[in-house]
């Protein structure tokens, strides 16, 4: 079944290259942002305790707000990614899948 496609031609096709470029930039940016935002929590808890201790709403302090914001950010990243994937990447991929058998056959 794999011989039915010319993979090199699909890979080189401008439509695939466009999908690849868009996805690569978007995914790794989001991933890098998420990991950095996450690592800021243990770093803050260890080295910036003075800031984490500041109370903002009753006993609620910056540290707790920051920890809770990690949840909001994680869910936010999930929503942003799924929107973009559903509306853009899936459409581009479907186009390539439909045209795949003609790519490289000319």
């Amino acid at each position: 079944m794999t011989t039915a496609y010319n993979w090199t031609a699909i890979q080189a096709d401008p439509r695939f290259q466009a999908l690849h470029a868009k996805k690569t930039r978007f995914l790794w940016t989001l991933l890098a942002f998420s990991v950095v935002y996450y690592v800021m929590l243990p770093i803050g808890a260890a080295y910036f305790q003075n800031i984490f201790k500041i109370q903002v709403w009753g006993p609620l302090n910056v540290g707790l707000v920051f920890a809770l914001s990690e949840f909001i950010v994680a869910w936010g990243v999930a929503i942003i990614y799924s929107r973009r994937a559903n509306n853009e990447f899936d459409v581009l991929a479907r186009e390539i899948v439909e045209q795949a058998h003609t790519m490289g056959s000319r």
Partner: protein, 667 residues
């Protein structure tokens, strides 16, 4: 399917004629209630297994439910697979004892799914079939990568499995007083029944049922904890920081440095970092292992082969993140509720690590240890915890059995011959029985061992070996067989070796010193305090320090005698009860110290021949993860592999578009 009836009968028999160990959080009068709830949950899962067993006809059904699970179902199943007893009971317990630091664990467990969502779930669905090694074998040398891939899957799953079995046995013993060995066998037999007869179909539904029960039980508890404060966050937190039990616990944890703090400051300190996690580097290292390890856990990866498309895989991670994240937010209320209602003293009295915080909170909220409702709620939480262990263990056994049967037997040993569908099924079931039996044997053999670090080690191996190999195979043009071999071997060995020389191991010399400290008093601390005394200027300070010196220098046996003498003089029932607890606590610590003296007598070094740890890190991720990536990169650059290079275009196109994936799961 007569045999299922037999299994159920056996399980029922086991639970009715159990030999009870003394103790257990449930009062003997209400034990029948616990068994009723346990029985109902077991019966429900057995019924589901019976239905599922009719659907499991091929190896594809057995390993991946024929790819017929929906995104929503799979999201719940991932949550059921991932929320282990460690995260439910363990994190609630850590929060109840140490406040903020316990909650920091929760965050890492959720953030991990961003990695899964963005770069792992969909490509794995598009490339893989049944196992982690399928992904590696597709592009690289199939025989070599299947062997290292399967070995790594079995290693990670065995670490995780051992921790679950030992934790489960202890948990059931603490909760209802059943003998450790009996509960390990019961967990093993139940799990085998699910997997053997119902394969991935039954495992999935058991995980869904368990996740729904866990989330529902937690929501009910949180409602009861939070409602008195009108669901206000500041009001709830104000009551937490103002609670004398919380303040007392903080003072106890901080020790000397709490001397000059007011009660209000002590309470507020509970919401600030640093009560539990003291080494920043270790903390970051643990965080990295959690975040990158989840994406390399075989039993989680396997879940993405059960859905039909990449879109469904994406949807299932989104659902899982909603459920898992929502659950972890609830752990704040569970933990802090337990801290104020039950109190750290009572919680650690039953279990030192705090694992009983959530069950004890349930008992309290239902009306306490003497009430019917209280014991019913405790029974429900206990049954949910039991279901949790069984469901997680089932997922782990399925992951290792598939590595054994699909990768090693069908993929390597029978590589040159055709394997009929019947033979594949048989191999899968035989492997399941082998892994299941091993799980029971390991569970019993590891009784009394310190296995707390094994879950961390499983995450660390997954992050240092599995993740670099999968990620670079999917995304890096130059990755090849050499890189995968080097990455798997070096990543795994680095993680394990670093743990073997870390403070996680048992060091007899340090243990003996600790035991002597308990029995004869802490002379080192006495010296420190005496130096302070020499520098002290005010009479109050001097008096305080002198009192401390006397306390530190006194061994537990003489303290015990004094405590007993004081008990005689007390008449007030409340004071008497408190003093009795103190006496029991002292007796316990003396016995533990004496046991340690006996156990480690004459021994000088740890398993690795060390007198003390070589490294300070308990979590080696920060060293082993970069090593794993480096090994894959260097291994690939120094190895010539024409197949991996030639397959790059195909792998990359397929992982991005899903071409051919529908066909892959049709057979």
């Amino acid at each position: 399917m007569k045999s299922i009836v037999k299994w159920t009968g056996l399980a029922a028999l086991l639970s009715s004629s159990l030999a009870f160990a003394d103790g257990g959080a449930v009062h003997p009068q209400f034990r029948w209630l616990t068994f009723a709830v346990f029985g109902a949950i077991i019966a429900l899962t057995m019924f589901v297994t019976y239905i599922a067993s009719k659907k499991v006809k091929s190896a594809s059904d057995f390993y991946t439910a024929g790819g017929g699970i929906s995104g929503l179902q799979n999201g719940w199943a991932i949550a059921g697979d991932y929320l282990s007893a460690a995260s439910f009971l363990g994190i609630a317990g850590l929060i109840s004892l140490y406040g903020y630091d316990g909650f920091m664990y929760s965050v890492g467990f959720l953030v991990a799914y961003i990695v899964v969502l963005l770069v792992i779930a969909e490509p794995c669905r598009n490339i893989g079939k049944y196992t982690l090694a399928d992904i590696l074998a597709y592009r690289n040398d199939p025989k070599k990568t299947r062997i290292v891939g399967a070995l790594s899957v079995i290693t990670v799953s065995t670490f995780y499995l051992t921790a679950q079995m030992v934790g489960g046995g202890l948990l059931v013993k603490t909760l209802i007083g059943i003998e450790y060995e009996v509960s390990v066998v019961a967990v093993g037999i139940l799990m085998l029944a699910y997997v053997l007869f119902g394969g991935m179909v039954a495992t999935t539904y058991v995980q869904i049922i368990k996740a729904i029960l866990l989330v529902t039980a937690s929501i009910v508890l949180v409602m009861l904890v939070w409602a008195p404060y009108g669901f206000s966050i500041p009001d709830f937190l104000t009551s937490v920081v103002g609670d004398p039990k919380v303040q007392g616990q903080v003072a106890k944890v901080l020790g000397d440095s709490a001397d000059n703090m007011t009660a209000a400051q002590l309470g507020q300190r509970f919401l600030e970092p640093g009560l539990y996690l003291k080494d920043p580097l270790d903390q970051i290292s643990l965080g990295l292992a959690l975040v990158f390890g989840t994406a390399g856990l075989p039993h989680i990866l396997m879940r993405f082969f059960t859905v039909p498309t990449a879109q469904a895989a994406r949807k299932s991670v989104i659902w899982a993140m909603g459920i898992i994240g929502g659950f972890y937010v609830l752990t704040i209320f569970l933990g802090m509720g337990a801290a104020t209602h039950v109190g750290a003293g009572e919680i650690t009295f039953v279990d030192k690590g705090g694992n009983m915080a959530a069950p004890m909170l349930a008992q309290y909220l239902g009306g306490g240890a003497d009430s019917m409702l209280g014991n019913f709620m405790l029974a429900v939480v206990a049954a949910v915890a039991f279901a949790t262990i069984v469901a997680v263990v089932a997922g782990l056994v399925l992951a290792s059995a598939s590595a054994m049967a699909h990768d090693l037997y069908v993929g390597v040993i029978r590589r040159h011959t055709t394997v009929t569908p019947d033979e594949q099924m048989k191999a899968a079931r035989v492997a399941t029985v082998i892994v299941g039996a091993l799980a029971i044997v390991i569970g019993i053999a590891a009784k009394g061992q310190n296995v707390a670090h094994l879950v961390g080690l499983a995450f660390c191996v997954a992050a240092s070996a599995n993740l670099p190999c999968i990620l670079l195979t999917l995304y890096w043009k130059k990755a090849n067989t050499g890189g995968v071999m080097a990455g798997m071997v070096i990543g795994t060995l680095a993680a394990i070796t670093l743990v073997l020389v870390s403070p996680n191991m048992t060091y007899p010399k340090l243990k003996l010193a600790d035991a002597h400290k308990v029995l004869d008093g802490d002379q080192k601390k006495v010296k420190e305090l005496q130096e302070k005394l020499a520098a002290a200027t005010t009479p109050e300070e001097q008096a305080k320090l002198q009192k401390k010196i006397a306390d530190a220098g006194e061994g537990a046996p003489s303290k015990l005698e004094k405590a007993k003498a004081k008990l005689e003089t007390l008449t007030d029932p409340a004071q008497k009860a408190a003093q009795e607890k103190k006496v029991i606590g002292l007796e316990k610590s003396i016995k533990a110290a004496q046991d340690d003296l006996k156990k480690f007598e004459g021994q000088k070094t740890s398993m690795m021949g060390l007198e003390e740890p070589l490294i300070k890190l308990k979590n080696p991720g920060i060293i082993s993860i970069p090593l794993g990536f480096l090994a894959v990169i260097l291994g690939s650059l120094f190895y010539r592999d024409e197949k991996a290079a030639a397959m790059w275009d195909e792998v990359y196109v397929r992982q991005n578009t899903g071409i051919g994936a529908a066909k892959a799961q049709a057979h």
